[in-house]
Symmetry: C2
Subunit: 338 residues, 2 copies
Amino acid sequence: MSRILLDHGSGGKTSQELIEQVILPRLANPLLAPLNDGAVFELPGQAGGQRLAMTTDSYTVSPIFFPGGDIGSLAVHGTVNDLAMCGAEPLYLSAGLILEEGFDLSDLERILDSMRGAAEEAGVAIVTGDTKVVERGSADGIFINTAGLGMVRPGVSVSGQGARPGDRIILSGTVADHGVTILSQRKGLSFSTELRSDSAPLNGLVRAMLTAAPGIRCLRDPTRGGVATTLNEIAAQSRVGMILEEDALPLREEVRSACELLGLDPLYLANEGKVLAVVGPEEADRVLKAAQEHKYGRQAALIGRVTAENPGRVLLQTPYGTSRVVGMLAGEQLPRIC
Amino acid sequence: MSRILLDHGSGGKTSQELIEQVILPRLANPLLAPLNDGAVFELPGQAGGQRLAMTTDSYTVSPIFFPGGDIGSLAVHGTVNDLAMCGAEPLYLSAGLILEEGFDLSDLERILDSMRGAAEEAGVAIVTGDTKVVERGSADGIFINTAGLGMVRPGVSVSGQGARPGDRIILSGTVADHGVTILSQRKGLSFSTELRSDSAPLNGLVRAMLTAAPGIRCLRDPTRGGVATTLNEIAAQSRVGMILEEDALPLREEVRSACELLGLDPLYLANEGKVLAVVGPEEADRVLKAAQEHKYGRQAALIGRVTAENPGRVLLQTPYGTSRVVGMLAGEQLPRIC
């Protein structure tokens, strides 16, 4: 490869290759290397002190307004959620706007209002920012970067390396809501009015889950690349296998229909308000109950388990007793889903 | 105004209007309000403890490679410098890349190498990142956002509100090097080979200056909008006047020539390796000497003083004894200078 492809931004296998072959060798350092949703560190000279988490994401979603949210709320939720996935309480966000000349000012106002609303719900403040404008044609309307800082909860240590055979896999709700909403909007499909992004701040839900079970091994939000890609990443990092029960996966009927029509597998579509938790078997019931009692986890379900067999592989068991390997997202072009 | 104009990204008056009329009313909070180069805060529950600084900037410079640097080194220097301007030692950076489909991979590698080199020189680590790819035509090659976290030096309190009548204004070196280099490159001017961006990490220089004089009142790097706009911002925030001595302003001969040819005022052109310091009169000599002993401050000069008269206004005294008001950058289109 000598040029950047859309697939390099898919969140799937090609993205991983770009990160592992091009980016990591150049920027490598001990904090970046683990490739969790953010970096966790103590301040220099304060070993044993408060652990902090830092993360960043750029948002290029198209369309910028969609049922259930917009690029502004998404940019806040996404970074709040990445901090939550580090076991951290999100505190402060930065916001970097890149605007295209000619962008509608009332759209910008609507997006900023949405960012504020999302920040208020999540209990975070946007404390610093930057605005750049590029010539017409040099960007597509608006791109937003948010970075975030949070305080890691004492006693919590979650990591993609943490899954162990026997652990249970919990998903906090229905899959594919965000991805299928964006793709349907883009294609102008008529059933799109019934679809709605799940974009939501997950820090409250994660707080409830960690309070119930501080020993949760791993937390991830299955965004780009979906549940399948995220579980493959954890399976590879932890060197374990995973078995998913297909009929345990929460899936809205309208999402199922849309996926069938579009020829898409919901396991590979982005979620923006869901958490995947890998938990020890003795804590699974408590985590599930805590999730189900939270408004963003009502439909939480136990969707599978971690195995010693097939390390690095995720198997899906169908209701008919057959099973198939579910790999990482590979070669599908679903750009600008977030 | 109902649409975003290029001037909204100039760093000058129109940018300020966008921030004050559109962004601040929506995202307002006590940390964002002071509009310094970054936010300074203590962690919740740790009042009186370590103060942290957080900042962000997106980089859209065109061309992406230029004499003296590239978008990668600039993205590291810019955020390192914004932290230094908060009186902080920069620690950790995030990096968010937005790539256009078709972007040359070897260019990306060169930019990443440059980011690493810049980070190593500044003593910071890039600890978390994100890569998005948009379709051909939806961005211009590469945009980079960096956010940064730093620890504020004990006893240091710098702010745009800190300037007082009688204070001295020190500039750490020649003006306009970055701005004129970028604009000359863009116009393909032949003298552009003699020009070179001043892009550099300023944390070491600022450390030396603060060690010599911990009471420095205000530190700013005069990037977009240049020295004139930055001083106007400080004058307005501190409700003081300023008098600059035109013949005290360090200016390279080749930059002066290029500015004359291009019809540009060097006071309004961006610098990416310079710091403006407002210091009490008793500390001015020490700060100047400390700066001149540092490799990035060799040509530091005392360029003016703070007055009680003409609050909010910056006057430039010419060698001929006349003076003129130097306002904020207004209505000039110098997009994508950083």
